[in-house]
């Protein structure tokens, strides 16, 4: 007996018992429909995440941080993310590009509006990576020294521009407050209610021989001089302005491990602001002081250290290999590819939990199959006897019933996939309508990938065949002599 014979006979038998077949198949159908609709929710989210990762090139992006001194007992192994570190990271095999997170506080002016924000320096090569190249309008800037900027969609909205295309080509004025040492020194010498001569006159020259007095004068005058310097340094900043052309507008991304600011400018353009003086932000100054790079910042950009560096690497190289090399160099690494693996594991557990629920429903449906098949044996006892008298062996009879169970499972599964998919379409349409109403992008929450169809088919048909084992074994054991006996 060929498989074709078995399938034809099975379909024929099931077609004869339409109502019973329909009811039994419905059990499988409901179980599979529930399973498919639940898993397709997980699959939809997983697909969306994967698309987002791919769109941003995150599978080949890694973030590098200095090891926190709190997290390492060996302070000697603490390394700064400075220029030397960038060179070392760039030399790791498979690394295509290394660029630091480097941003300055600016006041942006577009038309008549101004807004305080941050400008991030990014080399052209970085801007051309997937992470930054998904522009809503325009294109990346031409070179590392071009007077161009890429701005976020949110920023142009603040300036009253609602279509990204209309922002491209417009002038953006950036103003940076910088503290220059000159204004600090000028403040020491400046006349602030009393002249230097007045201050010198207050000193009793004859008493300078006394140690206590001398210490007192040095302390008070030193403090006053430092106060005057800081007052001039911090409160009398210079304002550096530059006019750039908006080259592109990009989508906003908030949160996550990727730090991107509202304005992206070429590094040499950013250098014009930072070389003019120290950042006007006292916090930046104290951070530079603690890092030991306060004076290096203005004079030697190579001496700067960064809080975060981004690595773009070859997709053929494993993220783990790059991470191991980064950690071996004394830094902490965050791999998006490895994070995705972790997320996938969570999805897997989620799917497994839903799968168990589906299996329970399917198990219940399988009891219906067992019942139907056992009834079928009782009714077809004589037929089994005839088939055996015609030369069917036990395996033929067993296969006949197993295939019949499998056909019930197959029909139920195909129907279940269709119904499950229809349910997801309805729920998705309702959800998308709600999202649109809330001003959110309408995303499809569900997906029906091929693997889900295959899993549903194998589960539905597999469980049905397993359910058919007992009836099939019972049918194969039917004694033909008893079955053919005249009543």
């Amino acid at each position: 007996m060929t498989l074709r014979d078995l399938i034809v006979i099975s379909f024929g038998n099931l077609w004869r018992m339409k109502l019973r077949t329909f009811l039994t198949t419905s059990g499988v159908l409901i179980a599979i429909a529930a399973f498919v609709s639940m898993i397709s929710f997980g699959a939809g989210n997983q697909r969306r995440l994967e698309e987002e990762f791919n769109k941003l090139g995150l599978f080949t992006t890694m973030q590098v941080y200095p090891k926190s001194s709190r997290n390492t007992a060996d302070t000697a192994s603490y390394r700064k993310l400075d220029k030397a570190a960038l060179v070392e990271l760039a030399a790791i095999p498979g690394v295509n590009l290394v660029y630091p997170y480097d941003a300055i506080n600016v006041i942006a002016r577009l038309g008549d509006s101004t807004a305080p924000t941050k400008a991030q320096a990014l080399p052209t090569a970085a801007v051309r990576t997937k992470l930054f190249s998904n522009l809503l309008a325009g294109s990346p800037f031409d070179s590392n020294s071009s007077r161009q900027a890429i701005v976020s969609n949110d920023l142009i909205k603040k300036f009253g521009i609602h279509t990204p295309d209309s922002a491209v080509g417009r002038s953006l004025i950036l103003a940076v407050r910088v503290s220059v040492i000159d204004s600090g020194f000028a403040h020491i010498l400046a006349d602030q209610g009393e002249t230097i001569w007045d201050r010198l006159k207050r000193i009793r020259v004859d008493s300078l021989l006394k140690t206590n007095y001398r210490s007192h004068v040095l302390r008070t005058e030193g403090n006053a001089t430092l106060r005057r310097f800081l007052n001039g340094f911090l409160n009398a900043p210079a304002i550096i302005t530059d006019t750039l052309t908006i080259r592109g507008v990009r989508e906003d991304r908030r949160g996550g491990m990727i730090r991107t600011d509202a304005i992206i400018i070429p590094p040499e353009t950013a250098q014009r602001f930072t070389s003019a003086g120290f950042s006007g932000n006292p916090a930046d100054i104290f951070a530079s002081m603690s890092a030991g790079t306060l004076f290096a910042q203005s004079d030697d950009p190579g001496g700067k250290s960064y809080s975060q560096v981004t690595i773009d690497f070859d997709p053929k190289v494993l993220a783990k290999t790059i991470r191991d090399s980064v950690e071996a160099a004394g830094f902490r690494a965050f791999s998006f590819a490895e994070q995705f693996e972790q997320i996938q594991k969570i999805f897997l557990y989620f799917d497994m939990a839903l799968g168990v629920i589906g299996l329970i429903a399917l198990f219940t449906a399988s009891l219906g199959i067992v019942n139907t098949m056992v009834m079928s044996i009782t009714e077809r006892r004589r037929e089994i006897g005839v088939l055996k008298s015609l030369g069917a062996d036990e395996s033929d009879i067993r296969w006949l019933f197993l295939v019949e169970s499998g056909v019930i499972g197959f029909l139920g599964t195909v129907g279940g996939i269709f119904i499950g998919w229809s349910i997801t379409r309805i729920v998705s349409a309702i959800a998308q309508s709600y999202m649109k109403g809330q001003g959110l992008p309408a995303i499809d929450l569900f997906a029906l990938p091929l693997w889900l169809i295959l899993i549903a088919l194998s589960m539905g048909v597999g469980v049905a065949i397993i359910a058919g084992f007992y009836p099939a074994a019972r049918a194969a054991r039917v004694d033909p002599v008893e079955a053919l006996r005249n009543d």
Binding site: S389, L390, G391, E394, D396
Partner: protein, 236 residues
Amino acid sequence: MTSDIYLSTTNLCRYYHRGSQTVKALDGVSVAVGRGEFLSIVGSSGSGKTTLLNLLAGLDSPTSGIVDLAGVPLSAMSRRQLAAYRAHKIGMIFQSFNLISHYSALQNVEMALCFNGTSPKERKRLAAEILERLGLADRTTHKPSDLSGGEQQRVAVARAIVKRPEILFADEPTGNLDFENAQQIASLLTALNRDGLTVVLVTHNLEMAQQLTQRTLRMQYGRFVESQKTTGGRRP
């Protein structure tokens, strides 16, 4: 045993246990069926005729004794080999026709070819051909319930012989038929035997057995009590 013996039994016993009671359905039966012979086994109900037929067909296993098929004991065959024996070498006809009620006449006949490796296309051709030969060409699509008793039994005969078996077992083939249809079936069996088919006919109709067959064995209480050479049929 001579070389033209096709099937034989030696001291064949088949006992059934009903509680503490042992029912001896067959009790030491020995018989040899020659190739091309038309043998009839007669006896009253419960004499063990059908039990013997089931043992000869390999559908049942003896309590003791041997069924020998051309030198090979059936007891030495595996279940699969016994099924192959039924699929290739024997045809069976039953008193109650035993057609599968939801299949057409053609499908019932085709079913006999499902287990001997005949291709689906060839099955259909052979089944249609044999039904036409038995005068049922216009009944191929009919279900058994749409056929008369005689037609049903002719479909059953077609099913039994479509695979060109070496031996045909007919268990009361005319038991449920009127005289005219019974005569038709009897003529059919004779014709098949004349074409060289070995036939073992089980019946309680002694007169028909004597008319049709060359040898008649009478059974009583699971034993052969009489063997009679008769004039019917074709000499082997």
